[in-house]
Amino acid sequence: MDAFDKKQDQALDALFAAAKAADPIPSGDLMARIMAGAAGAQKPAAVPIVAPERRGFGQTLSDVFGGWAGASTLVACVGLGVVVGVVSPDVVLSYLPGAELGLGDDVFGLYYESEL
């Protein structure tokens, strides 16, 4: 590059620098129009669709009795009733007026007979 070319490049550099300093600034109106365009083109934020969970029979049964705590309490109470009925049938029969029964007798059948 000779001296003449260098001067030409320097002159052009000065002109380009001046032009860059004079670059137009986006007006507020332009930015508002651009943002309005963006809002119009933009889809609303996607909401994930969650498939309903498949529930098994055991889970459904557990829900009916109020979950594992409720089901456990129910099983414990039934078990206790059976034990009491087997070990001390007199206690149970004391609630059945006029009945004297042994282990294995038809408790409910006799009860109804006694009522008749």
Binding site: A11, A38, A45
Partner: protein, 195 residues
């Protein structure tokens, strides 16, 4: 920085966020790219109102392509420059024969913070002279010169935007610079230039 509050996020990531409905991503992309898109459009069209219309149109196309944007394939800035160039070319062809050179009154208000009044006046005169000279160049030369020397893209980036080879870009730039100097030769004393 008020113009880009998500400056640490890449353009590609912002495009994904925008496509997913993030309004802030649109703001960041708009404030990041609108100034350079507007500047290129103004260099090409020499008309502030038309340049603003082109900038709005270019950004609108960016919003529309966001859901299909392929990360890593193209830079958002390069894509926008290409769209802007094409939009300007369309307008220039529609208005062919009706163009007029830039006038001092048509040079937009800017954020020029030159310290002295004299320096500001010289800078304004030079900017106007260059803008006028640019309009005398053939469209492709004007586009190449604007992208390379005013938007500060590399030669390969200019080639990508214009869809031509780097050799072709260098040829356009060489002829463009010679053309500018020829047009500005008569005014070099008034512009404080020596060549």
């Amino acid at each position: 920085m008020p113009f880009d509050s998500q400056s640490e996020i890449s353009d590609d990531a912002l495009m994904v966020l925008f496509a997913n409905g993030d309004g802030q991503a649109a703001t960041s992309l708009a404030y990041r790219h609108t100034p350079r898109v507007l500047a290129l459009a103004y260099r090409m069209l020499s008309d502030q109102a038309e340049a603003e219309d082109v900038a709005q149109d270019a950004l609108m196309r960016l919003w529309k392509i966001a859901p299909d944007w392929r990360q890593g394939e193209a830079k958002v800035s390069t894509w926008l420059y290409r769209v802007t160039s094409n939009l300007c070319t369309d307008r220039l062809r529609k208005h062919s024969g009706k163009r007029r050179p830039a006038e001092i009154d048509s040079v937009p208000e800017t954020a020029d913070e030159t310290p002295s009044v004299e320096a500001r006046l010289i800078g304004r005169d030079r900017a106007t002279a260059l803008q006028t000279a640019l309009q005398t160049l053939p469209e492709r030369q004007r586009q190449a010169v604007s992208l390379r020397f005013l938007q500060e893209l590399s030669n390969p980036e200019v080639a990508e935007v214009m869809g031509i080879s780097v050799d072709a870009v260098e040829s356009l730039l060489s002829r463009g610079k010679r053309g500018l100097l020829a047009v500005l030769a008569d005014d070099k004393m008034e512009l404080g230039l020596e060549f």
